[in-house]
């Protein structure tokens, strides 16, 4: 339950930051994509199940406030969360290169999908323009932001792990996980 609350809070904060403060941080009217960083890295760190749920809600918020077609962004973000969750198994905590590559790939998929469904479908064919002026700058900016935000997101993940440790202890008295989290929970 606590886990879910923390995650909900993270989604809300990322969405609000995205549509207020980040818009004034925009370079050449391109702003980074914070919900995508959250979705992808959470999927990466915590598996496809959480990735897809976080993605779904991030996207749904976009749809409610800014979308023209309810459900489009929800589906897209959910797909990205699920996709990055599939690579949960090869994830190592210390290594930042793989998550960065994966976030860059997610950005690419995101950009291409938005272009394909929202622009190409309305017969806007100048793909090279959109790629150079929108997709690529957003990708670079987002990856750069990932470098800054990776530690805080890891902290968030640690916190979630600790909260899960509590829940697991409620259900089972599993010695291994409790043992690992004993010291950390006492700090709380």
């Amino acid at each position: 339950m606590k886990q879910k609350l923390v995650l909900a809070l993270a989604i809300i904060v990322s969405f609000i930051f995205q549509c207020t403060i980040f818009q004034s941080l925009a370079l050449a009217s391109i702003s980074p994509n914070l919900p995508l960083i959250l979705t992808t890295s959470m999927g990466f760190m915590r598996g496809e199940r959480e990735g897809l749920v976080i993605g779904f809600f991030c996207g749904l918020l976009m749809d409610i406030f800014f979308g023209s077609l309810l459900g489009f962004y929800a589906l897209l973000y959910m797909f990205l969360g699920y996709g990055s969750g599939l690579f949960h198994m090869v994830f190592y905590d210390e290594d930042i290169k793989l998550p960065m590559v994966w976030i860059a790939l997610s950005e690419l998929v995101y950009g291409l999908s938005v272009y394909f469904f929202m622009f190409l479908m309305r017969s806007k064919f100048e793909f090279s323009y959109y790629f150079i002026h929108i997709i690529l700058p957003e990708l670079i900016y987002t990856v750069a932001l990932t470098i800054l935000l990776y530690r805080p997101i890891q902290k968030l993940n640690d916190l979630l792990e600790r909260l899960r440790g509590d829940t697991v202890r409620d259900y089972y008295t599993t010695s291994t996980i409790v043992g690992q989290n004993e010291n950390q929970t006492e700090e709380l």
Binding site: A28, F79, Y82, Y171
Partner: protein
């Protein structure tokens, strides 16, 4: 995730169910115009207070930036009056804020005189579209203040956009520079009809597209005012959209197209007026 309970649902089923839900929602919102009103209402109560607060913070930062510049100039001249300088800075920032507010209100008042016949509600912009593909924003007034989808939004000296969705205490506005916008317009001097379309490519240069203008006698010059037309079913007639920036003959040799400089400065937009009168449409 560990198998906790015996009613554990495999992730791929959740994925499939949510994906199906999304597709159904998209279909419904496309075919029946379902905008997720209930969701929007609930979400509005959660987000609008935060967004308002952060927007206030943005304004505060802006004011502080102004006052800091002021401060360095004064310090250079008399260092011994540090205390007084601080005092003055605070006062000054307040005055700048008041001045800024006054200018904005004066502008709005002038606009109010121009489009005097309509009932209007003033609103603040509290959030802008998070992505880089579209240009829409959220204002802090909604159905409670009589705002509904389809109402025209103006600011400064011209048209800003149209309300596309409304919650209880918020509304979504799609601006005229957004790629999805398509407005029926006319030239002010000759009343020749044309179309104004937002374009993502031109948006970065600060222009919007002008299409299908019939001007056989070359009467339209650069700088001509383009206003909303009488045939539009969503926009009131005669609201200024922008000024002709460039015009050239189409390949069909009948119509002209070109670009338009919007009358509104979209980069520095904080306050808008929503026209609460909807354009009357004859119902069949």
């Amino acid at each position: 995730m560990k198998k906790r309970n015996h009613f554990f649902i495999p992730t791929k089923y959740i994925f499939a169910v949510l994906a199906a839900l999304c597709v159904v929602m998209m279909f419904l919102s496309y075919s029946m115009g379902l905008g997720g009103q209930t969701l929007g209402r609930v979400a509005g109560y959660v987000f609008v207070p935060f967004e308002r607060g952060l927007n206030g913070l943005g304004g505060w930062v802006r004011d502080k930036k102004d006052s800091l510049e002021e401060l360095t100039a004064v310090q250079a001249r008399n260092e011994q009056l540090q205390a007084q300088v601080d005092e003055l800075t605070i006062e000054n920032s307040q005055l700048i804020q008041n001045q800024y507010r006054l200018e904005q209100l004066e502008e709005l008042y002038a606009l109010d005189q121009t489009y005097g016949d309509f009932n209007k509600v003033a609103a603040n912009i509290i959030a802008t579209d998070g992505g880089n593909w579209f240009n829409s924003f959220v204002i802090d007034k909604g159905m409670q203040d009589g705002i509904d989808a389809g109402m025209n939004v103006i600011a400064g000296s011209g048209l800003v956009g149209i309300v596309t969705k409304a919650g209880d205490n918020w509304a979504q506005v799609r601006s005229i520079i957004d790629d999805l916008t398509n407005i029926s317009a006319k030239t002010l001097s000759t009343s020749d009809l044309c179309f104004v379309k937002g374009d993502l490519q031109l948006m970065n240069e600060g222009f919007i597209r002008l299409e299908q203008l019939k001007d056989p006698e070359d009467q339209i010059a650069i700088g001509e005012k383009i206003v909303t037309s009488h045939v539009s079913d969503r926009y009131h007639e005669g609201i200024l959209i922008g000024y002709v920036n460039e015009l050239s003959m189409d390949s069909n040799n009948l119509t002209k197209s070109g670009t338009l400089t919007p009358a509104v400065d979209f980069e520095h937009l904080h306050t808008v007026l929503v026209i609460t009168d909807q354009k009357q449409v004859v119902k069949e």
